[in-house]
Amino acid sequence: MANTKLSEHTVSVLVYNKPGVLSKVMSLITRRGFNVESVSAEKTSGDKTRIIVAVKADERSLEQIQKQLYKIVDVIKVTPIDPRHKVVRELAFVKVKNASGLPNASNMELFQLVDVFGGEIINATPSGFVFQLTGSRDKINSFISLIPENLIVEIARTGIVAINKWPSQDS
């Protein structure tokens, strides 16, 4: 696909919670040549599930993805998340080693970092810690980039959830 200007877009896909529907949605997106940056899915109400997918695409391909998604019989609604009016959150757990005694790192610095980013220490042992962080993908990415790589043992991220806000009164 001749992708001219790629940027990250988020689409919210409401589907019937049928077996295989998640794989239908994902396979369609990847099959048409789009890179999935993040995905999250959860049952929302009754027989429906909301899948939130962030993809790298240009405007035109984004429109194509939406139209193709509608062709999946169990897809009820596809809503692009408007970058100007969206709320996006992701949750991440970062498991790190105890830094005491290591050169170029200290536990104090780690805790300060967690504090600055509004995270929490949810597990602390002599071997190491687990930090929890919520926020935009960018925020989480920069948090992770600030932790010395040799300390990171494991990272678990939920993928983003996103929603369009109510339109503001004056616009």
């Binding site: 589907v15 019937y16 077996p19 295989g20 794989s23 239908k24 396979s27 369609l28 099959r31 035109r60 429109e63 194509q64 139209k67 193709q68 509608y70 062709k71 019989v73 169990d74 897809v75 009820i76």
Partner: protein, 557 residues
């Protein structure tokens, strides 16, 4: 009365008025075959020699009748053998329902004997697929399958039924309707867009219709003819768009695309308004997108919103059923400018650039086709395989009624011809069916000659034997310094002798003066017959636009 799942399958087929079932048995579907044996009255069971053939036959049946082709196969290899046939139908928007048996639900996922994840495998090539895990879902799933296969933009639907579901029992009740919030194909074109398009026509000087397969699929061929005659707008057509036939024959210009006519492609490049009806603007039509129809405002009508703006930008998109849109345009009864000068220009271009060939000593496929066209009845159904002969058929066998040119357009599946011909004959027993195949594609599914014999189907077959995989050889000739790698078929059997052994009347032709007589016999034969025609080995198909090149560069040699 409570019924077994297997019986429910049969009763659902009856509710859907299925008269022909392309089926091949195996372990997990024995229960369905058992019920067909006892309760399958009114359903003709046609057993192909290979499930791929069965699926192409169902496809051919659907192409000529508009009804869904129905296939029943066993799990594992039976199911995977249908995949090529399903993909072929999918890309050409052909309605089909494929029922596959599956291992019992408690074995699913254990790599059991003859287990294949066919819903996973067929996902990208079906309009919808369903794994039925509960007997209560069986009848509703089949209803869903038939409804989805034929509505909106048609396509194949696969229903995978585990053996335990076939053996479970429940009360049989076939849903009257199918209603799902998430499945509402658009029917009516937006009135504003429909009106805007018509307005543009009144302002055009050189309007041109691009007729795609959507016209026959939506049953709008007659309407399209009326529309053309009423407003005097000429048309070109795609491989899938054969069949338009306005009263004013001057309005039907010719085909377009990679092997389109010089004048057809010229018309596209010189029109100022392109009215594209039910086409996906495939790369075989567009060539280079940037220089395609450079002067034209483009109107695009299609029932599938995803086709609009997919391969080319359009100015007036109309999502809707073509039939509805054409009705509105005809009803509007607008005053149109006189386009006859433009039509004369196109006719002149046509007269100046006729399709030609130089018939020498060796028989040329084009000659065979022209002769066959003269000798067969007008309402003939032409079925092609894939390759050079398909393109010559596209050029020399323009059909003048819908659902009469059966060809694998989108997937280009070699081996399609003979089995699709079987389906076409079963769908239209009163019409002549002529299959044209190359020596390569013929050998991919020639075992289906046995099916032709067994079902006593008077299908007529011409095998054009050039001793090469012709179309690939042509590309090697033109773009790869004649390095004929992997394309030589120098050990072909005598196909006429082969047919004879299989119980089918046949003749082998090598000389030009034998052609006419043999074709006459073929046309008149009341039983199946095959002609094995040895043709010129290195004839190339022209005109040709190289892949990705502009339609302006339509080469004639």
């Amino acid at each position: 009365m409570p019924m077994k799942g297997a019986r429910i399958v049969v009763e659902c087929l009856k509710k859907e008025k299925v008269d022909t079932l392309f089926c091949y048995p195996g372990g997990v579907v024995i229960p369905i075959f058992d019920e067909l044996y006892q309760h399958g009255d009114g359903i003709r069971m046609v057993q192909p020699r290979h499930e791929q053939g069965g699926t192409h036959a169902a496809d051919g049946y659907a192409r000529v009748t508009g009804k869904p082709g129905v296939v029943l196969v066993t799990s594992g290899p039976g199911a995977t053998n249908t995949v090529t046939g399903i993909a072929t139908a999918y890309i050409d928007s052909i309605p089909m329902v494929v029922i596959t048996g599956q291992v019992p639900t408690n074995y699913v996922g254990t790599d059991a004997f003859q287990e294949a994840d066919i819903t996973g495998i067929s996902l990208p090539v079906t309009k919808e697929n369903i794994l039925v895990t509960d007997i209560e879902d069986l009848a509703p799933s089949l209803k869903r399958a038939f409804h989805i296969a034929v509505s909106g933009r048609p396509g194949p639907v696969l229903v995978d039924v585990p053996k335990d579901v076939l053996l479970a029992t429940t009360q049989f009740e076939y849903p009257e309707e199918f209603n799902l919030e998430s499945y509402r194909p658009v029917s009516k074109g937006h009135p504003k867009q429909v009106a805007k398009a018509l307005e543009l026509m009144t302002q055009a000087k050189q309007p041109l219709i691009l007729a795609g397969g959507g016209i026959q699929i939506s049953g709008s061929t007659e309407l399209a003819n009326t529309f053309m005659d009423k407003y005097g707008i000429p048309a070109v057509y795609t491989l899938m768009g054969h069949g338009i036939n306005p009263k004013n024959g001057n309005l039907s210009i010719g085909n377009i695309g990679m092997h389109g006519t010089v004048y057809g492609n010229w018309a596209v490049q010189h029109c100022d308004l392109l009215i594209a009806l039910g086409t996906r603007f495939s790369d075989r039509i567009l060539g280079d997108t940037v220089s395609f129809a450079p002067n034209a405002t483009i109107i695009h009508v299609d029932v599938d919103p995803a086709e609009i703006g997919k391969n080319i930008n359009v100015d007036v998109p109309i999502v809707g059923d073509l039939r509805h849109v054409l009705e509105k345009w005809v009803e509007a009864d607008r005053e149109m400018p006189n386009f006859s000068e433009w039509v004369s220009m196109l006719q002149k271009k046509k007269a100046d650039n006729p399709l030609t060939y130089q018939q020498g000593n060796a028989i040329l496929p084009q000659f065979v086709m022209e002769k066959a066209r003269e000798l067969f009845p007008k309402n003939l159904i032409v079925v092609t395989d894939v390759g050079q002969h398909q393109m010559w058929a596209h050029q020399y066998f323009a059909t003048t009624s819908p659902r009469s040119f059966v060809s694998s357009g989108g997937l280009g599946t070699m081996g399609f011809g003979v089995p699709a011909g079987i389906g076409a004959k079963l769908g239209c027993p009163d019409r002549e069916v002529l299959v044209l195949a190359g020596d390569g594609g013929f050998q991919m599914t020639m075992q289906e000659l046995v099916t032709i014999r067994r079902e006593k189907l008077p299908v007529k077959i011409i095998v054009l034997d050039n001793g090469f995989l012709g179309m690939v050889r042509q590309w090697q000739d033109m773009f790869h310094g004649k390095r004929y790698s992997g394309v030589v078929l120098d050990n072909n059997p005598d196909f006429a002798a082969l047919a004879q052994v299989l119980g089918i009347k046949s003749q082998r032709l090598e000389k030009i003066d034998e052609v006419e007589g043999a074709l006459a016999e073929l046309a008149q034969s009341s039983e199946a017959m095959l002609l094995h025609v040895i043709v010129e080995q290195e004839e190339n198909v022209f005109p040709m636009v190289a892949a990705g090149a502009s339609l302006n560069d339509t080469r004639t040699s």
